[in-house]
Symmetry: C3
């Protein structure tokens, strides 16, 4: 099969329902979601089955859902197709956050992103996710988008934060608090 | 030797043949190529000689060629120097794609970026390469560039995709298809 | 504790002393510093105590200082709070560069970013740091910032370069010179 079609050599490319410049903010947005998806794949590749029997399937489901995000973002004119990202997917992320949150102690201060390789990889996902969210926010200013995608990404970076902390707990590693930080985290529920 | 010259502390920096702001799109473009080059280095560092005797030298050559790309992009005014990236380098990438492609089965659907550590690292390279391509496309709108660089990067992300899939084959891992995807890949040749 | 507050779902978020769009250049700048901090955490997670007894504490201190950078950048209107990044922190980076520099041979040409996993990870930090620097330079054009942050990041990418080279020395690996490069590095002191 020929994966390369040479059709994008001059800087133009196809989206669902149209053709745009490769540096179009829409392409930048789903391109960053694609990049995030790869870092999630990298993180999973570091996880041993026995220590992360729950995280692996959760993250694999998230990889499918990041494709759903990219699909919705790739639609040139809303209405061509039904959107794939639904409110229930955001709700599911919240349930997972609550679940993993029980394994960690409450924090009051910022923590250094790091610890085990798995935890560090989750922190990388957290910040690349936030970069993707920023690109989607820019896109949404210019064109109509599925607003559930924005919510999904916002919640997803919080899930990655929680999973990063849980991973260190499971490795028996303590998170290091940022020394000059005040008490920035507050109880909310 | 003093690596630090402090000359860039105020936000200006030198390109070949001039001095520009550090956030100039030209600097952004070759800076992203440099970032990509580092992810390629990371990927190689994960590869064992016996399983990847062909990929390691190919990727090392690509690292040299990414410097060629950065060199060409760093030239402030075309004409100061001959360009380094030539059509033959793009052709070579296509030959490698065809070569690795033979080790994998044809696909019809998108696959989750992941599997082994090496494969995941290749997918990261794939998407950072596409980010670099986007930056070069933006630069090309504003200033004359060597258009072979754009083609090189376009082909390179397809090579990374093919190598990512081949790496999973060599590790005995099956790629996971994106569940909600239709048949998006078509035979071309 | 509830990490997710849902307050950012509509694309706005809070900085220290105000509320802005999530794709505001200020958020982009400290968001990129946060991303860099995660790659530093990843790099540390690859380092064995016995081979990197000096680098680990140095990099951990840098992680704290990257929070200081992010704090300063997150201040909406200068004057609300005293800045955290001071000239002494930049001086300290220079001392570390001089220190690690002694372990490596002088170079005259560009080197391929790679070698060991630790060295490659340092090169990734180097280029993500330069991306953060570019974002800070853009921010500084629009709004007043703590200019020590810009200097800190400029010096930090040079430190990462030096540490990357030192790491390969400690692993007994030789850096590969870019074949088509001229002599680009010059003695400065
Ligand atoms: C800037 C910021 C960041 C920056 C941090 C940079 C930094 N070093 O400040 C970045 C981008 C890295 C960040 C990341 C995250 N953040 Co944040 N962040 C903020 C923000 C806008 C300001 C934080 C802040 O106040 N910093 C300044 C601190 C307090 O200053 P400080 O120098 O450390 O403290 C000084 C003063 O506070 C004073 N002081 C301290 N104590 C006292 C006591 C008294 C009596 C007095 C007078 C003074 C005083 O002296 C200190 C020394 O100078 C707040 C929202 C807000 N406006 O409060 C959210 C916030 C804290 N973040 C939040 C979250 C969720 C996160 C993330 C988990 C998001 C994610 N998914 O990635 C991550 C966690 C990162 C980590 N590794 O821990 C949430 C927390 C929600 C909750 N349950 O409480 C907040 C509240 C935002 C929100 N959603 O409403 N964040
Ligand atoms: C958007 C897009 C992406 C997004 C994917 C997001 C997503 N989830 O859709 C991203 C950026 C991730 C991407 C990446 C890549 N892509 Co792409 N992508 C596209 C694009 C523009 C649209 C894909 C698409 O149609 N999605 C919508 C799909 C089909 O919708 P769907 O919801 O999955 O399917 C619905 C409908 O199709 C319908 N349906 C399905 N079957 C049927 C049957 C009938 C009878 C009916 C009525 C309806 C129906 O129902 C489905 C359910 O809702 C196409 C070009 C084009 N315009 O077709 C290229 C395209 C598929 N990509 C291509 C390539 C090469 C790639 C990459 C390899 C590039 C690279 N080097 O990184 C990667 C591979 C990624 C991976 N992991 O597999 C090539 C494939 C070339 C080939 N030989 O066929 C294409 C054709 C572009 C091109 N060059 O021309 N891509
Ligand atoms: C572009 C550039 C980069 C690009 C490299 C792209 C590339 N391939 O050129 C990128 C962004 C990757 C880069 C990175 C870095 N760089 Co730089 N870079 C430059 C810059 C602007 C130009 C380099 C250059 O001249 N390239 C063109 C080269 C020389 O061309 P060439 O094709 O290889 O060589 C041709 C000609 O030179 C000619 N030629 C060669 N020899 C001779 C001899 C004769 C007699 C003749 C007639 C002709 C001739 O023929 C050659 C073949 O075509 C210089 C500043 C400047 N204006 O000189 C800084 C510079 C070399 N970089 C510098 C630094 C510090 C770095 C980094 C360490 C920064 C960092 N912290 O990340 C990294 C190191 C990367 C690495 N892996 O080694 C410093 C070095 C300081 C010092 N002590 O000397 C410089 C001098 C900038 C500065 N601060 O002043 N850099
Ligand atoms: C925790 C803090 O992080 C910042 N914040 C919120 N969303 C993003 C994003 N997508 N990228 C970077 N920073 C963000 C805000 O300042 C918030 O208060
Ligand atoms: C496979 C799909 O990926 C998108 N595409 C093409 N080039 C890039 C790039 N540099 N970055 C991100 N997305 C890209 C187009 O939509 C193409 O059809
Ligand atoms: C070594 C070379 O790297 C370029 N340079 C300087 N600062 C940055 C940055 N933040 N990002 C990318 N490239 C940069 C300049 O061209 C310099 O000369
Ligand atoms: Mg948020
Ligand atoms: Mg392409
Ligand atoms: Mg510099």
């Amino acid at each position: 099969m020929n994966i390369y079609t040479r059709t994008g050599d001059e800087g133009k490319t196809s989206v669902i329902g149209g053709r745009v410049d490769k540096d179009n903010i829409r392409v930048e947005a789903y391109g960053t979601v694609d990049e995030l998806n790869c870092f999630v794949g990298s993180a999973i590749s570091l996880m041993k089955e026995d220590k992360y029997p729950d995280m692996i399937p959760h993250l694999l489901q998230i990889q499918h859902e990041l494709f759903d995000c990219a699909s919705d973002l790739a639609i040139y004119k809303p209405g061509i197709r039904e959107f794939k990202v639904k409110k229930e997917m955001v709700d599911q992320l919240e349930k997972w956050i609550d679940l993993y949150d029980e394994e960690t102690e409450d924090i009051k201060r910022f923590i250094l992103p790091g610890g085990s390789q798995v935890s560090s990889a989750m922190h990388v996902c957290r910040t690349v996710c936030r970069r993707a969210e920023r690109r989607v926010v820019t896109l949404a200013k210019e064109q109509e988008i599925n607003s559930e995608v924005r919510k999904y990404l916002n919640r997803l970076s919080d899930l990655f934060f929680t999973v990063a902390r849980t991973a260190n707990v499971r490795e028996g590693l303590a998170d290091v608090e940022y020394i000059r930080s005040a008490e920035v985290f507050r109880k909310r529920k």
